[in-house]
Amino acid sequence: MIQALQASLVYEDHGKEIRACDAIDLEICPGEFVGILGPSGSGKSSLLYLLSGLKNPTFGAVLFEGRDLGQMADEERSRLRMEAFGFVFQQPYLLGYLSALENVMLADPVRDLRKRALELLDLLGLSAKTGRLPHELSGGERQRVCVARALASHPRVIFADEPTAALDHANGVQVVELLNAHRGEGALVMVTHDPTMLHGSDRIVHLTEGSIHGEQTRQM
């Protein structure tokens, strides 16, 4: 479904060339839970941005269902992200002036997601807080709202960039379990530096200094 073909991300930092991702070959299959594991600065997030079309590879290509993300115009790539992808970031980013329900409804402004958003918030244990503004929610609750937003439009791939980084361990585990439990047939690509968060994954990709250094596949 998603293929990285010799995908590299190179940028300059104070005149020095940095290879955040270096000629990565990787394929994500439909419905798969792939964990990307590595120490800080290993290029995990950069790889996630390449796979999700948030960044274009400097060299190589990233294909989604055979289409090169790098060749798409901004509007087309944005539409793809909205219709096919869901995102959970390190921080529980929500719009401060919108309620939890409205934040979930942001997942797709074209479709009326009110019913789906209410269902998801109920499933995630937030049915009593749908009308609350983000500052009236705890950190864990905010991240659960982000999970609901990521799941709201039935995405084919969910990208989670260290979604547990700002949470305590118990809340972190709960967020990952919720993502995994409610993703339906969508694939889940999760970046983390904490291997305990990847218990439910089908495959773990180890990244070091921008390169894949090994893969583990869960034994069925």
Partner: protein
């Protein structure tokens, strides 16, 4: 209403959660000051222009009676009057209804910028009746001056302007600028929108100096009066006659205020530039505070163009609402000013002055242009990943 329901209901009123109105209403602490600044600027400009316009408008209103007749006085030789009258009768191409030979003395009326000269016309009874009829007098409170008596008839705007009533003295020996050897008391107030002060011709001839007959020329058809004036101004150029035509009054008034309007334009342009820059800076600050919002929305699939249009719509809403509010407040304030300051003195003030409101249009246009430029330049350089990577937060 419980908090939950409140938050769920509101977006339905405005459409989607990302409707510009949802942001503006729920961030009133930011949007209201911007609307307020624009409204104040619009109000200030409308006020200045409307009040400035009221000065020439008042001049024209005070002397408006002169548009229905042409005033002629001889120059250097009082004996010229009959000759001038004859020339009019024989040569004027526009049919004349009547030539009124009369006398005049000076008086003062009050204006926003101080006292202005005004003429007290002295007629015989027949000519006075005709003059009143021609100047839309619908009725007289009191009566007309008696022959040979120190009595005056004034119109309602004059009475308001000078705060005079029947029995008060219009001209008198103690009045330097409104002189007459006897107290000339008001015996009647004419109901008309035109300004006029009239006395009896016999009293005037017996008491006023110099003994010079002047005359008014009235066209048969009121619509042709301007044509008659134009002919006379051309015919008597360089002649021993001084003509008082309404067109000349309009021209000299416009010329008198032209420089003032140029200064006004500079003031308004400066004001608009300052306010537009201020709003531009505020927009810039508010946009900076919303980087997380823009970054997040772009990451989850909102195209740059969609977000840009949304920001521009917000700016448009703020400027349009600010302008409308400013126009409304300006109109209400002008009405108050008219009632409190202008109407008691019979001064002109158009509370719906189209020129004044047209001047204010530059405010929303300039502010929208500066706001749009700020938003565009922000979006051009913006990288949403920098937000989710936490490089910019």
């Amino acid at each position: 209403m419980p908090r939950r329901n409140r938050a769920i209901l509101k977006p339905r009123m405005f459409g989607s959660p990302l409707s510009p109105l949802v942001y503006l209403v729920r961030n009133a602490s930011k949007s209201v000051p911007m609307v307020g600044v624009i409204a104040l600027a619009v109000m200030l400009i409308a006020w200045i222009v409307a009040l400035m316009n009221s000065i020439p408008d008042s001049v024209k209103a005070v002397y408006s009676y002169s548009q229905y007749s042409l005033g002629v006085t001889p120059r250097g030789d009082p004996a010229m009057t009959p000759k001038l009258v004859e020339t009019f009768r024989n040569e004027c191409p526009v049919p004349i209804e009547r030539i009124i030979v009369c006398r005049g003395s000076s008086a003062q009326v009050k204006s926003i910028v101080g006292d202005w000269p005004f003429v007290v016309l002295a007629f015989n009874p027949d000519d006075m009746d005709y003059f009143l009829d021609k100047h839309f007098v619908t009725g007289i409170e009191g009566r007309k001056p008696s022959v040979g008596q120190p009595e005056a008839l004034i119109s309602e705007p004059v009475a308001r302007n000078l705060n005079l009533k029947i029995g008060d003295v219009l001209l008198g020996p103690d009045k330097t600028d409104d002189y007459s050897p006897q107290d000339v008391r008001i015996v009647g107030i004419a109901q008309s929108t035109e300004w006029m002060m009239l006395t009896d011709l016999e009293y005037h001839k017996a008491n006023h100096f110099p003994p010079i007959d002047v005359f008014l020329v009235l066209a048969k058809d009121r619509k042709t009066q301007a044509q008659l004036d134009d002919w006379a101004l051309e015919r008597f150029k360089g002649d021993r006659a001084k003509l008082f035509a309404y067109r000349e009054l309009e021209e000299s008034t416009n010329k008198m205020f032209a420089t003032l309007y140029q200064i006004l334009n500079v003031v308004i342009v400066t004001l608009v530039a300052v306010i537009a820059l201020m709003i531009g800076m505020l927009t810039n600050i508010y946009q900076s505070q919303r980087l997380v919002e823009f970054g997040l929305l772009q990451c989850i699939g909102y195209a740059r163009r969609t977000l840009l249009l949304r920001s521009l719509k917000e700016t448009l809403w703020v400027t349009v609402v600010g302008w409308l509010l400013g126009v409304l407040v300006a109109h209400l304030m002008l009405r108050v000013a008219y009632m409190v300051l202008m109407e008691p003195k019979a001064w002109a003030l158009n509370t719906m002055d189209p020129t004044a409101f047209a001047y204010t249009l530059v405010v929303p246009v300039a502010i929208f242009a500066v706001g749009a430029f700020t938003v565009l330049s922000r979006f051009r350089r913006f990288d949403p990943v920098s937000i989710v990577e936490r490089r910019l937060v």
